[in-house]
């Protein structure tokens, strides 16, 4: 789908994907070859991650490493921690249904999503500089495992992170709905954006739900057409002669079309439903960033308050000529520095988010445009195949009736 493997580095967010990479530094990644490892409950899927680059920070032109889903989660968590304000690309969900975990379709959907995930990071002008990314792309398996388990101090399992993420989400919703009484930015434009993001998620989720159902409908239609074909063939055997042949031909065509329907179902899933799902995840990721922004704002406000109070105390101490003055002055200076740091962090988030949202909107128009194109193309192709298949029967049926 999104062929981002040849995205070039350098340039801002408005860089067109078409810029030639011959004179540029490049970083191209692909996630391939899913393979089942281990057995029983411990079994998991591993992926080959191939990196091709001429960046100086990377060791060598090509590197191949083996990674599993939790490694990707680790990367995402790290980026989320370190790059506040930036919309971190979303990950595909962890599978909860056991038997679905190793189905070919699920594995392929996940592989595609992971590939897109890494490539988005690699082509984001800020994120691509992350050290964690380099670790992810190059470190040997043991180092990776160690790094992953170190995180267990803060985030025990990916599911824990999801839980915290959800808490943050609900906290943000609470904030938006005015349930809590925390300090809130009084920025009307940002308010509008928050509302937009929350509502957008609902609309998108509904569209995605129906898209998924449509995939199922294709499968069901394919199945029933196949069953119908078989039944009609048997009926043809009963009837015999010209009519019997007609039935047999009809049955055969039905079975052929059933296969085409299954194919289109898969195409629809990978090239239409998945992009929609990806869109939903992206919006959820933005909500996470919004939560971070709210946190940063709250911290900034709290510290500002504390600094003010501290100043009042300090003045009191000055008047009283207390011996605690020196320490207090020292504390005050520290506090003030911290407050400035926090304020700077918050303002950075605000700035970054501003850029991100523009980039996001543009990217999504392109992504959806492509998804629509694939949808229309697939449906047109299917409909034409069906028409052709049935049309080819008409002369034979004509011959039957005149005999």
């Amino acid at each position: 789908m999104l062929n981002m493997q040849q995205r070039s580095i350098g340039g801002g967010s408005s860089q067109s994907p078409r810029s030639p990479q011959s004179f540029q530094l490049y970083l191209s990644v692909s996630v391939t070859e899913p393979a089942k490892m281990g057995t029983g409950v411990q079994a998991y899927i591993s992926y080959k991650v191939i990196t091709k680059t001429n960046l100086p920070e990377y060791q060598g032109a090509e590197k191949i490493v083996i990674r599993r889903y939790s490694d990707f989660v680790w990367l995402r968590d790290r980026l989320f921690e370190k790059f506040k304000g930036i919309f971190i690309p979303p990950l595909p969900e962890k599978s909860t249904v056991e038997k679905f975990r190793f189905s070919a379709e699920f594995i392929e959907m996940r592989r595609q999503a992971l590939d897109i995930f890494v490539n988005r990071i690699a082509s984001h002008h800020e994120l691509q500089q992350s050290e964690d990314l380099r670790t992810f792309l190059q470190a040997d398996e043991q180092t990776m495992e160690r790094a992953r388990s170190q995180e267990t101090g803060i985030f025990k399992k990916p599911s824990d992170f999801m839980q915290i993420f959800k808490d943050v989400q609900s906290k943000v919703s609470d904030v938006v709905l005015g349930k809590e009484k925390p300090v809130e930015e009084s920025n009307p434009e940002y308010e509008k954006l928050k509302h937009y993001i929350f509502e957008l998620e609902n609309h998108l989720a509904e569209a995605q739900k129906h898209a998924y159902r449509l995939v199922k409908r294709h499968r069901e239609l394919g199945q029933s057409l196949s069953d119908f074909g078989k039944a009609v063939k048997l009926l043809g055997d009963c009837e015999g002669e010209a009519l019997g042949k007609a039935f047999s031909e009809l049955g055969a065509k039905s079975e052929i079309l059933a296969i085409k329907l299954q194919k289109e179902a898969h195409h629809l899933l990978m090239n239409f439903e998945e992009p929609l799902k990806d869109y939903v995840r992206a919006v959820q990721s933005i909500k996470g960033t919004m939560a971070e922004r709210a946190n940063a704002f709250r911290q900034q406000c709290e510290l500002t308050e504390t600094v003010k109070l501290k100043e009042i105390d300090l003045n009191k101490l000055r008047l009283m000529r207390s011996e605690k003055l020196l320490d207090a002055e020292h504390d005050y200076e520290e506090l003030k520095a911290e407050c400035e740091e926090t304020t700077r962090k918050f303002e950075n988030i605000v700035r970054l988010m501003g850029e991100e949202i523009v980039r996001f909107q543009e990217q999504k128009t392109i992504d959806m445009g492509l998804a629509f194109h694939e949808f229309a193309k697939g449906q047109a192709h299917l409909a034409n195949s069906i028409a052709d298949a049935w049309r080819s029967l008409l002369p034979k049926l004509e011959a039957c009736s005149s005999s």
Binding site: N3, L204, L235, G369, F372, K377, Q379, A383, W390
Partner: protein
């Protein structure tokens, strides 16, 4: 004489009876709401297109076998070209060439205007029983009917009576089965729904009767369609009371007081439903001895052809049932597809509206515009799927029709076996009577004089009557056999034609709609092709 509304009905009558009398596309009032708009669809089933105004007399059922093929062949020749849509339109407007046989028979029936009525208050319930009557309108050129247009009001009970009498008189024929009494449904469903459902079922039933070359000329049907007021056919309650008479007679028969001989005229009727319980017992005894004896007596076996054909029909029935089931599943899947498409389209329309409202960036408006086109196409596709499905139902309904006909086939075959049983019973009876007569002879020859004359006379009489009854029964049996045979032939011929039509209709329908759907999507694919190149 006929009002505008009835003339309207006439038009629909023509179309529907055409279709019905060939046992093909019945006006199937399915749950699909789009059905009502189908008649406006230029490319819907060609058989539904009205013939030119000053139409030729509508064809008989055998004609239908040929004429749709003509219409369709016009279409098909042109459909292989590029401009399928126009070609089909032209085909429909051409006057239809029909190979006519003379004379062309028709009997067109429609059922309408259900009305509530109250039974005369000789019942226990105060206020009287309420029931519904239906207006039965028929037009015909069948000579035996002695007229061309008839209108009459009938209730469901009358239909039951008609059906019962037909099955008594026309033994061996494949008589279409009447609608169920559906007592439970009448309690559970809403009154209007139930009455409408019943009206449709009655119309279908009467049209099927009208489609049967022999039944349509029957006195029973004629009387049903024409005689005003009370239906002059013996009702089934009358028949039931015969059974009671029979029960009364039984002891007399057993003790020899009353005649225990089967009269010739009764021999032509099946034992069941008659008043002669003794006869029922005799035939039961006969059938048991048949089974125990292992071999079926003489006559059944020599009709190997019949046995073979019966087997084939049994197999066919199984496969029909299976195909019928799968057809239903297919129709459901197509319906679901259309529905989900529609829901998806609506979801995108909502999303589009939202993006437009909240747009802060032009890129959002561009996206909304794309979405609108896709959503519109999706909704269109959804509608097309639903129309496709409504037509599919009409075509595949033929499978259900023939499934239903199998009941009639079984009934006709059981007419044959019960007639055979009667013959066998009479033969057994005859041989035992002869045996008794012989014994009497030998006994009386030993005794000089003696009062044997009366018994002897009685026996002679009984033998004579039984001989006559046997002849009647055999004649009846042969008649039924012939009916079976000719009906099977008719069934095969009509079924082949109907099924070929069904297949053609189904396939043409699929082609038509798939082309339309494909065109809609091709447009969108073209409009969004820019995105494909961009990401490439």
């Amino acid at each position: 004489m006929m009002g505008a509304e009835e003339q309207q009905q006439q038009q629909t009558l023509k179309l529907d009876s055409d279709s019905l009398s060939s046992n093909s596309f019945s006006t199937y009032k399915s749950t699909f709401t789009s059905l009502s708009s189908d008649s406006h669809h230029p490319l819907s089933d060609p058989l539904f297109s009205p013939p030119s105004p000053q139409s030729l007399p509508p064809p008989s059922y055998s004609d239908i076998v040929i004429s749709p093929l003509h219409t369709e062949s016009h279409e098909l020749n042109e459909s292989n070209g590029d401009d399928t849509e126009n070609a089909k339109n032209n085909a429909i407007q051409q006057p239809e060439l029909r190979v006519s046989e003379s004379p062309i028979e028709y009997l067109k029936i429609s059922v309408s205007k259900p009305q509530k009525e109250v039974e005369a208050s000789n019942s226990i319930v105060p206020g009287g029983n309420k029931y519904f009557t239906y207006l039965i309108t028929s037009t015909t050129n069948i000579l035996e009917h002695g007229g061309s247009e008839f209108v009459v009001r009938r209730r469901f009970k009358d239909v039951v009576t008609l059906s019962d009498r037909l099955s008594e008189v026309y033994r061996g024929y494949f008589i279409p089965s009447r609608p169920d009494k559906s007592v439970v449904e009448s309690q559970v469903m809403q009154k209007q729904e139930f009455v409408e459902q019943r009206r449709v079922a009655l119309e279908k039933y009467l049209r099927r009767l009208a489609g049967h070359p022999v039944i349509r000329k029957s006195d029973e049907l004629r009387v049903f369609l024409q005689v005003q007021g009370k239906l002059p056919l013996p009702t089934s309650t009358d028949v039931a009371s015969r059974m009671l008479d029979g029960a009364v007679n039984l002891p007399k028969q057993l003790f020899g007081d009353s005649s225990s001989v089967i009269a010739p005229q009764e021999a032509v009727q099946p034992a069941k439903g008659g008043r002669d319980l003794l006869r029922i017992f005799k035939e039961l005894k006969q059938s048991v001895s048949n089974d125990w004896g292992g071999s079926k007596r003489q006559v059944e076996d020599d009709d190997k052809e019949f046995v073979e054909k019966k087997e084939r029909l049994n197999v066919l029935e199984v496969q029909l049932g299976n195909a019928s089931q799968q057809a239903e599943a297919l129709v459901k899947a197509q319906q679901d597809m259309g529905e989900t498409m529609g829901e998806l389209g609506l979801a995108f329309l909502k999303l589009m509206k939202f993006e437009n409202q909240e747009a802060s960036y032009n890129t959002q408006r561009a996206r909304a515009a794309d979405m609108k086109n896709v959503a519109t196409a999706t909704v269109k596709a959804s509608r097309l799927y639903r129309e496709l499905n409504a037509q599919t139902v009409k075509h595949l309904d033929m499978l259900h029709e023939y499934m239903g006909l199998m009941l009639a086939v079984h009934a006709a075959f059981s007419d044959r076996s019960s007639a055979l049983l009667t013959v066998q019973t009479l033969l057994t009876e005859l041989s035992s009577l002869h045996a008794r007569a012989e014994k009497l002879e030998t006994a009386s020859s030993k005794i000089f004089g003696g009062d044997k004359s009366r018994k002897g006379e009685e026996l002679k009489e009984a033998i004579k009557v039984t001989e006559d009854a046997k002849s009647c029964a055999i004649r009846q049996y042969e008649r039924i056999k012939e009916n079976n045979r000719s009906e099977m032939e008719r069934l095969d011929k009509e079924r082949k034609a109907d099924f070929i039509n069904m297949l053609k209709g189904f396939v043409v329908n699929q082609v038509t709609y798939s082309e339309k759907i494909g065109n809609e999507w091709a447009k969108i694919a073209e409009e969004t092709s820019g995105y494909a190149k961009e990401s490439g």
